[in-house]
């Protein structure tokens, strides 16, 4: 069961640096949304507001229609999947135990089964991979395990913070495929942070372009291409296209 996300007039600073400047956004349940922008645009800060890794100075953050501050951070986070750039698997735990982390935290009676199913979904059968340690897997496989871990307890929303950023092209394609499969099999709201517009276009139904703590434009990839709202968005599109042209030549 997917849930909606909302931010209302959210502002946040790190010291003197403005990270979010009066941002408002509604993300309906089940939608796949990408936050795109350069580093420093505020995209990761916005993402981290939804599971209280960042507590914004002003504004309201809602998950599933409720203010995030009504729950303790720990219990809020157990209901939200999370994947970070460097998967952050616990190196001393075997793969199956890593994936069973959140089900265990939620005291699910069949947490191991949940972990096995999640591993199947990302294409890593637990019979083959479950008893290995993270360092015995490739970087792409580890990232898929992190993805499995984020969905093992079947959360209504998954937050992904540049999950493909540190991978080579082939591993990245594999992971994107796993992600697509997931989206097909589960009904889940996803919010993805990336600096790669092409990736955003491929994995998300809606793209939010951020710049200097503000939302520059929001819409489908088609909207962005055909009706860029600002010069900045137009330049961003142009640059992404140039990258693809180079391959075509």
């Amino acid at each position: 069961m997917s849930i909606s996300l909302a931010a209302r007039n959210v502002s946040h600073r790190f010291g003197n640096v403005v990270a979010l400047d009066d941002v408002s956004i509604e993300i309906p349940a089940g939608r796949a949304t990408a936050l795109v922008g350069e580093s420093g645009s505020g995209k990761t800060t916005l993402l981290r507001c939804f599971n209280r890794l960042v507590e914004p100075e002003r504004g309201q953050v809602m998950v599933g229609g409720e203010d995030v501050r009504t729950q303790s951070p720990a219990s809020l986070r157990r209901g939200i999947g999370y994947v970070q750039q460097h998967g952050g698997l616990l190196p001393h735990w075997r793969i199956l135990r890593n994936v069973a982390l959140v089900p265990t935290l939620q005291h699910m009676p069949d947490s191991t089964d949940a972990a096995r199913r999640a591993l199947e979904l990302v294409g890593l059968p637990s019979t083959q991979f479950g008893s290995r340690f993270p360092h015995e897997l490739s970087g792409g496989q580890r990232q898929r395990v992190a993805l499995a871990r984020s969905i093992a307890a079947r959360p209504g929303v998954i937050l992904l913070d540049e999950p493909f950023g540190a991978l080579d092209a082939i591993s990245r394609a594999e992971l994107q495929e796993s992600f697509d499969n997931l989206r097909r099999d589960l009904t889940v709201t996803t919010l993805l942070v990336t600096h790669d517009l092409a990736e955003a276009g491929r994995l998300a139904e809606e793209v939010v372009v951020m710049r200097k703590g503000r939302i520059e434009q929001r819409g489908s990839m088609r909207d962005l291409i055909h009706a860029p709202a600002t010069d900045y968005v137009a330049r961003l599109i142009e640059r992404a296209r140039a990258g693809l042209e180079a391959l075509r030549a």
Binding site: N51, L53, P73, A74, S75, L76, R77, R78, G79, Y82, Q84, H86, G87, G88, L89, L90, P91, H92, W93, R94, L101, V102, L105, R132, F133, P134, H135, E136, L137, S138, G139, G140, Q141, A146, R149, S150, I170, S171, E174
Partner: protein, 558 residues
């Protein structure tokens, strides 16, 4: 033979610091054992760590035993500060001391020259002041002085016509002096000699007590400071220069006795008084020579002399029978073999000290390090504070604990415990603080509580660093525990301290070698423990080859 006859003053900030620490610790469990031990205890006879003091203490002990008192021997207590501190607090009951040391190192009194020149007057002054200030009594002097002896070789003496210290001052510019560091810095040492006699040697070399006689004999230096009853003065046929201006105060030897012994055991005091006036300087020099030069057993030398004085009849002291056959001619391995029972016993005691201190340090410092990770603002100051403890010299630390813990095992354990805290707390804190940041961040983002992160993630990942801290502490503790001998706690330091005092290399090695082996063994055992507590993925390596086929790490990504 040694520079430890006089105490070294420790400056005030260190003293206050150590007192505070000792006060904090006094509520610890170690005190109760000690209190029990105090009741109805035998007469505790101690010595300072040099040959003559060992010998006199042994004579005290045997006289007491021959009169039916049971004796607990605590030979080789640190230095004046520790021995006197222990006596003052009734932790020990008697030890041999010198009036000059009492005057200068304990009372810090200066007397007019006319008084200083008269040993009887000095004794009267010191004895009276000790009763007034410390309620501690000097028994009548044993009959000899052991003062500073400025010595030259017979050939140097005849070449420069040296008989007195005034002669030496006259020829000073031709001569190189080799003095102990202690003597060079003291007002009643070189500083005073320069003032009173105008002595200015061509050069002054600081020498360790153990090497100064060899240095003089080999001609590396021309003048040394010794003690007038040193056995080695006779061995090297040296000339002691006369203190014609009565610069050195008299160092009359006498038994110092505790207030407890004085009030509760007058019979024992009477027995000790039997030795008063019975030992002259020539006798003492011969006895010291038998111990320091000929390597005879202290117990045998003591009992021979007591028999000769008619104080023990034919009774030989308990314990002397089991002693190893003496004489330098037998081989070192034979010597070790003969002493195997003693060495094993000392090693066990040593191991006990290390184990108890280390265990206590682990159960305090590991939780402390974990707690500090949660309160990082106070982490560095706290660990820094523990680090400061490391800078307190161990002898000083031991000395400060005497008023609270007496002598013996309790203060030694507390000192070792304090020294072990720092490496363990530092290792624990650093280890949990720096544990895999990505893993910790992910665990946080997925809804673990801070306690869960500590127990599931930080602690297991930090285990190798924590163990490294514990291993460091263990090896330090094995080494530091040799110093426990200075405070009568036994262990392998006992033969080291005694061997240093008696110039007996084999005895030193019989403590030092097992201590080194013990350090290696303890480290080795902890290395195994370290492997057992290593995070699972690090351990995997040892098992994988048996349980799985090809290395999955090199399986290509599918």
């Amino acid at each position: 033979m040694t520079g430890t006859r006089h105490r070294v003053r420790v400056n005030t900030p260190q003293r206050i610091c150590a007192l505070l620490i000792a006060t904090m610790i006094i509520s610890g469990t170690t005190t109760s054992a000690l209190t029990a031990q105090r009741e109805n205890r035998p007469v505790v006879v101690a010595s300072k760590p040099f040959g003559e003091s060992y010998l006199l203490a042994e004579m005290f002990s045997q006289v007491l035993e021959s009169r039916g008192f049971s004796v607990d021997r605590k030979p080789g207590l640190g230095a004046t500060e520790i021995a006197f501190g222990a006596l003052r607090t009734n932790a020990i009951d008697a030890y041999p001391e010198y009036t000059g040391t009492g005057l200068i190192a304990i009372l810090h009194d200066t007397l007019p020259d006319s008084v200083t020149a008269d040993p009887r007057a000095v004794f009267a002054h010191v004895a009276r002041r000790f009763v007034d200030l410390y309620h501690v009594r000097w028994l009548p002097p044993l009959g000899f002085q052991n003062t500073y002896a400025i010595a030259v070789t017979r050939s140097t003496a005849s070449r420069y016509h040296l008989r007195t210290l005034s002669d030496l001052a006259r020829e000073g510019s031709h001569l190189t002096a080799g003095f102990t560091a202690d003597f060079i810095g003291r007002n009643d040492g070189l500083v005073g000699l320069a003032r009173v006699y105008g002595l200015k040697p061509r050069a002054v070399r600081p020498l360790a007590p153990a090497v100064k006689y060899q240095a003089l004999a080999s001609g590396a230096v021309d003048v040394i400071d010794g003690y007038s009853t040193d056995g080695l003065l006779a061995r090297y046929d040296l000339v002691t220069l006369i203190d014609d201006k009565h610069f050195f105060p008299p160092y009359e030897a006498a038994a110092l006795i505790s207030n407890r012994l004085d009030t509760e055991a007058p019979g024992a005091v009477a027995a000790l008084t039997l030795l008063s006036g019975r030992l002259d300087e020539k006798t003492m020099r011969q006895l010291n020579r038998r111990v320091e030069v000929d390597g005879e057993d202290v117990k045998k030398v003591a009992s021979d002399e007591l028999a000769a004085l008619g104080l023990t009849g034919v009774t030989r002291a308990k314990g002397s029978i089991q002693d190893a056959p003496s004489g330098q001619q037998s081989g070192f391995l034979r010597y070790l073999w003969d002493r195997r029972a003693t060495i094993a016993e000392l090693t066990m005691r040593h191991l006990e000290l290390v184990a108890v201190a280390l265990f206590a340090a682990v159960i305090i410092a590991v939780p402390l390090g974990l707690g500090l990770e949660r309160t990082r603002r106070i982490a560095e100051p706290t660990i820094g504070g523990l680090g400061v403890l490391q800078t307190i010299p161990s002898i000083a630390l031991l000395a400060f604990m005497i008023p609270f813990l007496g002598v013996g095992v309790a203060p030694a354990l507390v000192a070792l415990w304090l020294y072990a805290l720092y490496p363990i707390a530092r290792g624990t804190y650093t280890g949990v603080r720096d544990a895999d940041p990505d893993a910790v961040a992910a665990a946080e983002a997925l809804g673990t509580t801070p306690t869960q992160r500590l127990l599931w993630v930080r602690l297991p990942l930090a285990a190798p660093v924590i163990m490294a801290g514990i291993r460091t502490a263990a090896v330090i503790t094995v080494g530091a525990a040799t110093l426990a001998a200075f405070i009568g706690a036994g262990g392998l330091g006992e033969p080291i301290v005694a061997g240093l005092a008696l110039a007996d290399t084999r005895m030193i090695l019989s403590g030092a070698l097992p201590a080194a082996v013990l350090a290696l063994a303890v480290d080795g055992v902890l290395a195994i423990v370290e492997r057992l507590v290593a995070p699972a993925h690090r351990r995997k390596r040892f098992r994988r080859s048996q349980t799985e086929g090809p290395d999955p790490a090199i399986t290509p990504a599918v």
